[in-house]
């Protein structure tokens, strides 16, 4: 649980850095596993399982651990208004919100830099905050 009486909200650039770290920590191994499975078995559909597993992992980490490895390394957590970790249902909503943030030309992400509580559109939809711990 995070104390929400005077939180430090994390802004656009550090969250971008966390996303870059995640693409290395999660993305690269997932890509290698996917490539290896398809190459080794010849069953292309196994690649989809790896992609789905990566999404499930991201949702699990966001909901139960407070963030993906990039956020955890940089000392950030995803919490709700009470300072608690958001749980799986809200992590799913937040993930869907991230798709929306990206689809509208990334405006949902850029909002992080301009809102008072450093929330992206996906954070506003799921009522989450990314705070420093």
């Amino acid at each position: 649980m995070v104390d929400m009486s005077n939180p430090t909200y994390r802004g656009f650039w550090i969250r971008l850095l966390a996303a870059i770290l995640d693409s290395i920590i999660i993305g690269v191994p997932a890509g290698l596993i996917q490539f290896g499975l398809i190459l080794g078995t010849g069953i292309k559909s196994l690649g989809y399982i790896v992609q789905l597993a990566a999404v499930v992992l991201i949702i699990y980490l966001d909901g139960i651990k407070g963030g993906t490895p990039g956020k955890l390394i940089l000392g950030m957590r995803i919490v709700n208004e009470k300072g608690e970790f958001i749980g799986i249902p809200m992590a799913i909503l937040r993930y869907i919100g991230k798709i929306l943030s990206g689809i509208i030309l990334g405006i949902g992400y850029f909002m992080i830099g301009f809102t008072s509580k450093k929330q992206g559109l996906h954070d506003m939809i799921a009522k989450t905050y990314v705070v420093k711990v």
Binding site: L39, T41, G42, I43, K44, S45, L46, Y48, I49, Q51, L52, V55, P89, M90, I92, L93, I96, G97, I99, L100, I103, I104, I125, A126, K127
Partner: protein, 335 residues
Amino acid sequence: MVDIKKDFGDSINLLKKNKKIVLPILLSLIITLFLIYLFLSLSGLLPLLKELISLDKEFEKQKMEYLTAKENIGRENYTMELVSYLGKSSEKSKYNSDFAAYLKQRGYDWGRFKVLLNMKNITLLALFLLVSFIISLYLSSMYFAAIAIAIKKEEMSIGNMLRKANSFVLRLLSLKIIMWALVIAPLIICSLNMGLFAALSPQNKALLILLVVLFILLFVAYIIYLSIKLFFAVPSIYIEKEGAFASIKRSFSMTKNNLKYVVLVFLLVYCINYFIGTFMSQPLFETYINFILGSGIITKSVNFLLVILFLAIESVALAFTHIFRFYAYLDFKKA
């Protein structure tokens, strides 16, 4: 104010308590896949496609053997072959033109597909599309009815689902017909007008192209507008027990106010469907095609298990999406 977070949570809880809602959706997907297999078998396409897939695998195996052979690394065309292989999903990739040349070399006769384009198969396709539509419509009515039953906390039994589905299926069909009419009518009118313009002023090609581009943009905007305004028509039929016209009227009225939230919920549902399409529907379809066209017991067994997995996941995800739409309807009704 509309509470999307609460609607999302309530939708998940309702689905957890009423798992039977998934059954009609699962059945709809299974029947669709079965009809695809049946059509491919009866039309004569299945053996041709199996042969094509088999040759594709042979060609890919040859390419892989070339690329993984140590003596080939460093050869003049190795990089080009590697880039071509890695980018094979792209239409412009040299891999596809190499494959076409390979097929020609192996004597694969594309003319056999033309032979299958006969009246019998066209009639068969039309029949299958009609059967698929009727079954899909009935099962859609069944799962919308199941959602309404669950929300109203009525008896969630197969019998009750069937009764409710039967009483609303014609209203759902009427709604679909009206929706198609609203889409197709402007399309036909504008196409006729542009055809007339092209016939009367054939020299004005630049203006015609401009008109076509403008028409496409306006038509897309119109479809988006219509989709948003009709967003609550289906929940209205099953919750309020209204007819097609009344549900359309109600949906238009509800989406008049709180437009910001309506658009947001609409976009969220669109994103959920995009997610389902990317991670579930497309993998399901490709895996199923690999299962019916592939060879080898192990490969077929793995593909079969993956089909079951994707079927289950997609059914649950689709059920959730529809439930969320119903809860959004109830929330907007209160607002």
